[in-house]
């Protein structure tokens, strides 16, 4: 009964252990994580490489089966009803997965067909997205002619082609110039103001602190804590300010930030004093 479930994305005690290989026990990549993302909310999954972020995303899209637990997208169980669940899900994976056999515009129209979006609507939506992402001038170019930053933007745009209720972004701004990153942030702001729930995986602390209403710190497959960036900072960093020697003899005194929380919770205190 999907109507009883208001959260566009619900992750319930999700656990993923990879298949054992060559007799060795499979790696436990995700360990009983649980969270909901509300309409219009941006939820951050913050963690170092190997923390289980990408595995979580693969399980949320239903591409990897979970070892245990459930994922509901738009109220639909992604494992039992993958087609219906993915109908309202847009994913931008960390890998570049653009279809280089098509140009920028056709790429989006083709992707829309997988969602069974009528061609006229798909064309309209593709144009709208390309304009918003500043790629309209490149519409007829082959994908391989785009710069790395443009490809990244195109992939985020492609994830939005079906006007999803849930948008999952895995490291969307890696390799982007600061101005392009800000432009992407703006677009994400518009997207969430229309009620789309966003799951943002990133290891950019500043990005998480700026964009996310709530952040989960993921470490070795477990969520160590979840809260708004401000509350996380207040909860874990007792001091008003922290001091950090950024270069020999140069000490910065600054307000504590999410990075300090992250370093404290994940047990690493490299170079930061006074936590």
């Amino acid at each position: 009964m999907p109507t009883l479930d208001p959260a566009p994305l619900r992750v319930v005690q999700l656990t993923k252990r990879y298949r054992p290989r060559h007799g060795a026990e499979g790696i436990l990549a995700v360990d009983h994580i649980a969270f909901d993302v509300a309409p219009g909310e941006c939820f951050g999954l913050l963690g170092p490489n190997g923390a289980g972020k990408s595995t979580t995303i693969q399980c949320i899209s239903g591409f990897y089966p979970a070892s245990s637990g459930e994922v509901f997208v738009g109220g639909r169980n992604v494992y039992t009803h993958p087609k219906q669940a993915r109908q309202v899900l847009g994913v931008c994976s960390q890998d570049e997965t653009l279809d280089s056999d098509f140009n920028v515009y056709d790429q989006l129209v083709r992707h829309a067909s997988y969602f069974r979006i009528p061609a006229a609507k798909a064309r309209h939506r593709a144009q709208d997205l390309l304009v918003r992402f500043g790629l309209w001038e490149k519409a007829m170019e082959p994908v391989d002619n785009l710069s790395g930053g443009m490809k990244r933007r195109l992939q985020v745009a492609r994830a939005l082609i079906s006007d999803p209720k849930v948008l999952v972004l895995d490291e969307p701004t890696t390799g982007l110039d600061p101005d392009v990153r800000r432009m992407l942030w703006e677009v994400l702001g518009e997207v969430r103001s229309q009620g789309t729930a966003i799951l943002l995986c990133t290891h950019y602390m500043e990005e998480a602190e700026r964009l996310c209403d709530r952040v989960a710190i993921l470490f070795e497959g477990k969520i160590l804590d979840v809260d708004s960036p401000e509350k996380l900072i207040a909860k874990h960093i007792s001091r008003e300010s922290v001091e950090e020697e950024v270069r020999p003899g140069v000490v910065w005194k600054r307000r504590p930030n999410l990075e300090d929380v992250y370093l404290k919770l994940t047990g690493s205190r490299l170079g930061v004093e006074g936590l």
Binding site: Y18, R19, Q58, S61, G62, F63, Y64, P65, P82, K83, Q84, R86, Q87, L89, V91, S93, D95, E96, T97, L98, D99, S100, D101, F102, R110, H111, S113, Y114, F115, R116, S162
Partner: protein, 258 residues
């Protein structure tokens, strides 16, 4: 009437391949259709004029007719295998197209079926072009064009699945050369494309029947040249077909879905 979602998924994937095919038509015309025609000319006209006539299964026919029908089977083998192996490997490993489509409402299962059906469609068209040339030169009856369609299509699925299996297991693109040199080329040389396998020693004949191209050759020659039907070819072909499609899908699933 609304097409069921899974059919739609399959159709979308097939259509994606078809659109790439249309966009790159000159490339595909050169690689898909020209190659069998070269074989046809070289062996049919060149070697054919040296050999003249041969007798196989008690039927006397021109070597040119014999080789023309062999090239149909060879086309199915090469086109099916290469698209399933190298084509799919590029799409899966470099372009990551399988992965991109499989997180939309189209599932990986549908993507893999779409891949096999497209590969087989293309190989079937290529084989039909060879058959058409044979009809024009008077080597085959016109109605064989029709009866060849289901045979070529199913055989193409079989060899595409063989290629897709290779793509599923290969760690890098170079490893696809193993099945190419150890499986595809030997079949091409020993399964009756160039000569009736009765000419081989008895033991090699038995081995040749183990490989699916021998069955394809036997059935193609029944349809195009009216040679007596070798009944064992039918179950052999179906066993290979089911087995390879199963293994191909399994290898891809195991590789991609962790």
């Amino acid at each position: 009437m609304r097409i069921p979602d899974s059919m739609w998924g399959l159709w979308c994937v097939w259509l994606r391949y078809f659109m790439v095919f249309i966009k790159s038509l000159p490339y595909y015309l050169a690689t898909t259709f020209l190659e069998p025609i070269f074989y046809l000319l070289s062996f049919g006209l060149g070697v054919g004029s040296l050999v003249g006539g041969i007798t196989t299964q008690g039927v006397h026919l021109s070597y040119r007719s014999f080789i023309f029908s062999g090239i149909i089977a060879q086309t199915v083998l090469f086109q099916g295998f290469y698209e399933g192996a190298f084509g799919a490997f590029v799409r899966m490993y470099y372009q990551k197209i399988f992965q991109a489509i499989s997180i939309t409402p189209v599932t990986l299962s549908e993507v893999l079926w779409g891949e096999l059906l497209w590969d087989a469609s293309k190989a079937t068209v290529a084989a039909e072009v060879v058959a058409l040339i044979g009809v024009v030169t008077g080597d085959f009856p016109a109605h064989s064009l029709l009866s060849l369609v289901p045979l070529c299509f199913l055989s193409s699925v079989l060899f595409s699945a063989m290629g897709l299996t290779a793509a599923g297991y290969a760690r890098n693109i170079d490893e696809l050369s193993y099945p190419q040199y150890l499986l595809v080329f030997p079949m091409f040389l020993f399964c009756g494309v160039f000569y009736p396998i009765e000419s081989l020693p008895a033991i090699l004949q038995k081995i040749a029947w183990f490989f699916p191209l021998t069955s394809v050759n036997a059935l193609v020659r029944s349809l195009t040249l009216g040679l007596p039907l070798q009944v064992q070819a039918i179950p052999l072909l179906f066993i290979w077909l089911v087995l390879l499609v199963y293994v191909a899908r399994r290898s891809m699933f195991r590789r991609l879905v962790k």
